[in-house]
């Protein structure tokens, strides 16, 4: 991606790339990987902690992007957000598929789980949110809600995992996350 590639230009190119995929033109895939491939793989690597799993997740996600491209409607958010959502879902499916992870040796599995725990630091969470409005609004949340939201979104932990790891009842974890996200949404809009 060239340095003078502005956000608007990128958004337009991604929209066009999705339209190309929907029309059966594989150039669309090449453009998406050219613009976002490294960042997408970075997201998968952060959640899954292993290069082989991350590559598998991105490969599966790109196949889904290809197949579902015609379903994306511009009125429903950006092409970029849609593509990242597909990748994140694929990563979560791998994480939560016991059989999928059971091929890993116990020590490797422990490493994956341990690495995920480190993704969301209790201090310096700001590095996760970039400099913009999201950071401002996250900083306005109570610390626990914010951390739970980040554990879910950034590290891919489930309600149950968050409750167990943070030692709070499941219902409390759920309501803290919902209340937090609702407040976040209000602040962002």
């Amino acid at each position: 991606m060239s340095d003078d590639d502005t956000g608007q230009d990128r958004a337009a190119r991604l929209r066009q790339a999705l339209a190309d995929c929907a029309a059966g033109q594989e150039d669309g895939l090449a453009v998406i990987l050219d613009i976002e491939g490294g960042q997408l793989l970075g997201v998968a690597q952060r959640i899954l902690g292993r290069a082989d799993l991350a590559e598998e997740a991105l490969q599966d996600a790109m196949v889904q992007v290809w197949r579902k491209a015609a379903n994306h409607r511009q009125s429903d958010g950006s092409a970029r957000g849609w593509i990242y959502a597909i990748l994140r879902n694929r990563c979560l499916n791998i994480l939560r598929d016991g059989r999928r992870l059971s091929i890993l040796a116990p020590a490797d599995l422990a490493l994956v789980q341990e690495a995920r725990q480190q993704i969301v630091p209790a201090e310096n969470w700001e590095i996760l949110s970039g400099p913009g409005k999201l950071r401002h609004c996250l900083s306005g949340l109570d610390g626990q809600s914010r951390q739970f939201i980040l554990l879910a979104y950034v590290a891919g932990f489930s309600h149950g995992e968050i409750a167990a790891r943070q030692d709070v009842p499941l219902g409390t974890a759920k309501s803290l996350i919902r209340r937090g996200l609702s407040a976040l949404k209000e602040c962002l809009s």
Binding site: L29, G77, A85, L134
Partner: protein, 237 residues
């Protein structure tokens, strides 16, 4: 946006955060596809949280990555429907949903009929009825869309184990006189379009079910095996 209930927004939040179990997420995606307000809400939330994804350190793509993607696409040309991926590997779907929102979903599917006038568009033909099939524990197993022109689609939203000597068979009960009528036999849980002959147009509250039958389908022409899931149609038009 204001039309969305608090409960629907909470579900959307769980969905975008990745907190919805996979089977529920598949059904929720069906709802998103049909509800323009919900789709915009979900899309907006995704875009707002996107900076979190962009904070991940960049990883260089391996050589020839595009070629690998293209090869995978070429190797699975028939798996075209949106729900096909990952489903055979879905985990933990046998456990009951963490909440009971199937009623809400059924209501929302019915509510779509009201929403049509608002200019909601979908690039697919419109089903006349949709039925969410649940197992005995109330866990969603499959979604049936009946188009009323002797075609229907079935998509499985749970990880169903089909032994090699068994088939899945889709049934409906068009009228009491006709009794259970087969809509088709499936060997696996891939999304499938079913074509059948001369059934009366589907009605609201019509029963649909999927059973596990001997390979090739029920020998009697009526359901004989265990019920995988059943549910009643919600009218769409």
């Amino acid at each position: 946006m204001t039309d969305l209930s608090t409960e629907m927004r909470d579900l959307a939040s769980d969905y975008v955060l990745g907190l919805m179990p996979e089977g529920e997420a598949r059904i929720f995606e069906e709802v998103i596809e049909r509800d323009g307000d919900l789709a915009r809400y979900v899309g907006g939330l995704r875009d707002q949280l996107l900076p979190l994804d962009l904070s991940a350190p960049h990883s260089a793509l391996p050589e020839e990555f595009l070629v690998r993607v293209q090869a995978q696409i070429a190797a699975e040309p028939m798996r075209a429907a949106p729900l096909s991926d990952a489903m055979p590997r879905a985990a933990n779907l046998s456990r009951a949903p963490s909440r009971s929102w199937i009623g809400l979903i059924a209501a929302s599917l019915v509510g779509i009929a009201v929403g049509f006038g608002a200019g909601w568009m979908r690039p697919l033909p419109e089903p006349m009825v949709v039925a969410v099939l649940l197992d005995a524990e109330g866990v969603p197993q499959a979604v049936i869309e009946d188009y009323g022109n002797d075609t229907a689609t079935v998509r499985f939203v749970a990880d169903i184990d089909v032994p090699s000597d068994r088939s899945l068979q889709v049934w409906t009960l068009p009228t009491a006189e006709m009794g259970a009528t087969s809509l088709g036999v499936l060997e696996r849980t891939a999304p499938t379009r079913l074509s059948f002959d001369d059934l009366p147009g589907p009605m609201a509250q019509q029963l649909y079910e999927v059973t596990l039958e001997p390979a090739g389908g029920s020998p009697t022409g009526r359901p004989t095996g265990p019920i995988i899931g059943k549910g009643f149609a919600a009218q769409q038009l």
